[in-house]
């Protein structure tokens, strides 16, 4: 029998910051303006031009570092990363190397390795053959995007599957969205993800040769891309061959993995400290305002709800919908069951969002005390949403309270059985599905005030089942 392989996956995420201006010049960020209309001597790398750091980008970088529980460096410096490419006007990218803005940290079960700031590249439009990569003779460079502030987040290799990767990235994306530092739109490229993937025999702690899966621009592609690459690697090693370190591209249409190695030679980026910029020492007031600007984030919120008794799934669902979560927070103190109240919010978000939060909790409490049936809870909520008021009073006024009088119900059930003889027969014959019309009848009679479970019990009893 063959070895059990364990995937070892690290993620590298580039996030475009939602500042007003670029990283090192005062050009406004571009959102689909005509080509080369958001440029200046600095972001075009003209002779003699010099970069100046955007304070907001530093502040956003700090907020991300704080949200990821990273260590914030008192002193960090920029480096030049040297390589020639038409989308790289200075032929070096100003990035960070051995003194990044943030080190370490974690989000959920994934440890963070580092967080650093850099500048985005220009857009290359490949003209000729349908703008597709291959077979085009010339390209056109549009520098509008060039210099957009980027935060690069590098995780430790703690991810074990494509699915985990997708789930974690969704958490990261929601976290960044709630921080308000980026519009995190993958289709627009404001959130981009690469994955470093290797496999090792389960139980081992070493690392296999890793490959880099580049630029997957949707959560689904990331999950499928990683799945496909893991499968490819397992097939290779099971076939007695060896994985080669390379950069790969996942084609979501064909599910095919292809090598990008084609023309680029082995990189030698010749990093060295950017002499045009001085070391960044974080001003105390910036640190303060960054801290103050951080809301409760999804991971913390979900943990808090779980501790309060909400299921893991529902806790995450609420944490990912801050506008609903804040109302749930108001309801929580008076809720007998956090789980039941959470369910009520999630099942009828739009109604629950209209009603007074404590009233929503009260409704779920009435259901819990069997004073209100789930069926009528909907009605009550709708009324509360429209006109407000006290749930108990609404229930009393509208006569929606659950029936407490067992004899009365028994009579109604008998009447229902009599009125639906054929259904009763089919139930006797063992077809429990036929109970539908009977329950329907009872509910009509009781205006939904009867307890469905109780009705079923009575039906069975009456039919001697």
């Amino acid at each position: 029998m063959s070895v059990q392989w364990e995937p070892v996956i690290g993620l590298e995420i580039h996030v475009q910051l939602d500042t007003r201006t670029k990283m090192f010049c005062s050009c406004a960020l571009s959102f689909g303006e005509p080509p080369n209309t958001r440029c200046c001597p600095v972001c075009l790398g003209l002779p003699g031009a010099l970069p100046v750091v955007n304070a907001k980008a530093i502040e956003y970088g700090l907020m991300i570092g704080m949200a990821l529980e990273s260590d914030l460096a008192e002193r960090s410096i920029f480096h030049r990363k040297n390589y020639f490419y038409p989308d790289n006007p200075k032929a070096y990218q100003i990035s960070q190397y051995d003194e990044p803005l943030c080190r370490g940290g974690r989000l959920g079960d994934v440890r963070i390795h580092r967080v650093h700031l850099e500048e985005d590249a220009a857009k290359l439009v490949h003209v000729g053959e349908s703008g597709r990569i291959h077979g085009s003779d010339a390209s056109i460079v549009d520098f509008n995007r060039c210099g957009t502030p980027l935060v690069e987040i590098v995780t430790e290799p703690d991810v074990r599957s494509g699915e985990e990767a997708r789930e974690w990235l969704q958490l990261l994306r929601e976290t960044l969205r709630q921080l308000g530092v980026s519009d995190v739109d993958m289709s627009q490229g404001s959130l981009r993800c690469d994955a470093n993937i290797s496999i090792r025999p389960r139980g081992e702690t070493g690392f296999g040769t890793k490959t880099e899966l580049k630029n997957m621009n949707s959560f689904a592609f990331i999950e499928r891309g990683i799945k496909a690459e893991v499968a490819r690697q397992i097939e290779i090693v099971d076939g007695g061959r060896e994985v080669v370190q390379e950069t790969l591209h996942f084609d979501p249409r064909t599910e095919r993995i292809t090598s990008l190695r084609s023309k680029e030679e082995a990189h030698d980026y010749r990093y060295f400290p950017e002499p045009d910029l001085v070391p960044i020492r974080i001003p105390a007031d910036m640190l303060e305002s960054a801290r103050a600007a951080i809301p409760e984030l999804p991971a913390a919120r979900a943990a808090r709800y779980e501790a309060a008794g909400v299921s893991a799934g529902n806790a995450r669902d609420l944490a990912f919908r801050p506008e609903l979560a804040v109302r749930f927070d108001d309801a929580l103190p008076v809720a007998d069951s956090a789980q039941a109240t959470a369910a009520l919010f999630l099942n009828q978000p739009e109604v629950a969002a209209e009603a007074e939060p404590r009233a929503v909790a009260e409704v779920s409490n009435l259901v819990g005390r069997r004073e209100l049936t789930p069926a009528n809870a909907r009605r009550v909520l709708e009324i509360l949403a429209e006109r407000g008021g006290d749930p108990a009073e609404v229930v009393a006024r509208e006569g929606l309270g659950a029936m407490q009088d067992g004899d009365a119900l028994e009579a109604i059930v008998e009447a229902a059985l009599a009125a639906n003889g054929d259904a009763a027969d089919r139930i006797r014959a063992g077809n429990m599905k036929a109970i539908g019309p009977i329950i329907g009848h009872v509910m009509r009679e009781t205006k939904g005030r009867a307890d469905g479970g109780e009705v079923t019990r009575l039906v069975r009893a009456k039919l001697g089942l």
Partner: protein, 94 residues
């Protein structure tokens, strides 16, 4: 000593074409210069911090306030090859 292959490797990194005799001359000249430079190899620099900025300037940050970008025509004006309002280059993948 920096030999022919090293010269070619470095020239590739620097995107510099060199003719055959330029490669030979470069190898000789760089070797000569490095022979002098390598004297710093003899210094004891144990624990000496590197200097990349001579003057300690307080962190210089720019407020996040947009200023008008430059007229495209003015910027494209200096370009060797222009097409569709952009800078034309041979395709990297060609």
């Amino acid at each position: 000593m920096i030999d022919r292959d090293q010269v070619l490797h470095v020239a590739r990194l620097a995107r510099l074409e060199l003719s055959e005799e330029e490669v030979e001359r470069m190898s000789g000249e760089l070797t000569g210069i490095l022979r002098h430079i390598e004297k710093i190899g003899e210094l004891d620099l144990e624990g000496v911090p590197p200097t990349s900025h001579v003057v300690e300037v307080a962190t210089a940050l720019r407020p996040d306030e947009p200023r008008p970008s430059w007229p495209r025509e003015e910027l494209l004006d200096a370009a060797p090859a222009v097409r569709d309002d952009g800078f034309e280059v041979p395709s990297p993948q060609a």
